[in-house]
Amino acid sequence: MSKKEFFSLSGDGKIILFDELGRGNEILFLYDENVEREHAYLTFLHGGLEKNELCLYAFPKEKARLSFQQGILKESIEKGQLHLLDIEDKLIEEKDKRKEYISTCIDRIETKLNEMYNLIEAEKYSTLRVLIDYGNIVESKEIDMIIDLEKKMLEKKVPFTAVNTFRISSLDYDSVKELIKIHKKIVFSTKNETSTMLPGFWTAKRRRNTSGVISQETLENFVKNSLETIVLAILYKKPMSGFHIIKIIHRCFHVSLSHGTIYPLLHSLKEEKILNVELGSDMKSMIYTPTEEGGKIIEKKLSDIVKTHEHLLSLIDGGLLAE
């Protein structure tokens, strides 16, 4: 299995794409209070649950609770794959008491993480996925405690993917700077704008294969116009059923396609002898596989697309114009 994975967050009608997010990566997600985060959080947790990862969602009590009463989240909680941790969010003004209180919160998270590290080995989960929404409970003066916790996580040498989220209004410039130092990717989201940043490359020219923000509409149009290529690329990587192709496209592009779009396409690719179909081992799914000839056609198609896009990128970068 590849050590890298595709990962995306969505919100405010925009999709944040991270290609090649490696395990051990930590993402810092800074948001203002108007940003809807539930969909992004659900996507992140679903991604982990589907990959047999042990997941933790820690959140300010009663403020960022997701819908756990149904579907995969409920089942995952019941079977112990998804753990929840309420973080108390009392506003304590007295300095000493507040420090003690925050320290207790961080200790609880650390205890829970240690418990989960042990579970990974004992119950054979592939890795750990952590989503901690600190909300606005942590203020700038307490950020050192978070940084210590993050460092301890890294020292464990247990593979993990983590998203740490903070409400931006609770932090000052220096705290944000400190947090950025220990995260590999940063997402900053306000009601009107979502940006991604890579520490060390802030002022660099646009880089390929890093990350980007794209509107839902653009992505939907892309999927619609490139559907055949996307389906062939998926099947070239791994034969599967129409049902699972729909799920993968939804996971990767946040675009919901109906069966009426995918199955006719699969039928016509089969008629063109690009795909073969046979009954799957579950005795209910029809699994589509590229034929030998189809495999060559797909390779050529994908190679042509990559070349065309590279050509376009070099034009955008000015390479062609410079000549």
Partner: protein, 239 residues
């Protein structure tokens, strides 16, 4: 008056003797309901009408089978002497229904699925002109039945928006005493009822055109014959 072929669907020549029942051609874009109890040749009639028309005009059509596999449907047609024409593509929903079955949180939106499939083939096939849905009962079994009349209006309207002549099969026995579920009899442009009559030695199957908008037709019951050449319409049963 001479009929302009462009605006009419030429069904009369598809089955021998059908011209005695339907006297003038049916307007293109019509939605025709074919109703009857099990075993009254609903699928066979719908398939024959569409496939023979499409083959004669070199046009493309979609036959959506929701309860029967493609293989089973083709086997049944062949057993009745009905040819299989590539111009009428059989779209088998069995596989899709099976794959979605038991998947939590994954509902099969059949009406949207059919519309998307129509969209797909409209873009792919320039001469996509006809569609059959076998059966409406299966559609009902897969959707929430609240506001059904509105849903059926939109469902039938989809065919019109895409300028498709459509045949929708409705199993009447399942409905029991109720004649209609979602107002489909009112919404359809034409209704062909199929049924059985007890003869002296056997049971005969008849067809009766209950309504067919903008078309001259008989309302009598006509016996349907089956031989090695498929279906044919014999004389009418009753004066």
């Amino acid at each position: 008056m001479q009929i302009k072929e462009g605006g009419k669907i030429m069904f009369r020549n598809t089955i021998m003797g059908l011209g005695n029942v339907i006297h003038t051609e049916i307007p293109k874009g019509s939605t025709i309901l074919v109703t009857g109890r099990p075993g009254t040749l609903k699928s066979s009639l719908a398939y024959t009408l569409l496939s023979k028309y499409l083959a004669s005009k070199n046009e493309f059509g979609l036959y959506i089978t929701l309860e029967e596999t493609k293989a089973s449907h083709e086997r049944n047609m062949k057993s009745l002497g009905i040819n299989i024409y590539p111009e009428l593509k059989i779209f088998d929903y069995q596989v899709i229904r099976r794959e979605y079955k038991g998947e939590k949180g994954e509902e099969l939106d059949i009406i949207k699925g059919i519309e998307d499939a129509i969209k797909f083939y409209k873009e792919k096939e320039k001469k996509f002109t006809c569609i059959a849905v076998d059966s409406l009962n299966a559609v009902y079994s897969l959707i929430d039945l609240t506001n059904l009349r509105e849903k059926m209006y939109n469902f039938f309207d989809t065919f019109k928006r895409y300028q498709l002549t459509s045949i929708v099969i409705l199993e009447t026995e399942i409905l029991g005493n109720r004649m209609t579920y979602g107002g489909e009899r009112f919404l359809a442009d034409g209704i062909i009822n199929l049924g059985t009559m007890k003869g002296k030695e056997d049971v005969t199957i008849y067809m009766q055109v209950e309504k067919m908008r903008a078309t001259k037709h008989s309302r009598k019951k006509y016996q349907i014959g089956i031989d090695s050449n498929g279906l044919s319409i014999l004389g009418h049963e009753y004066e």
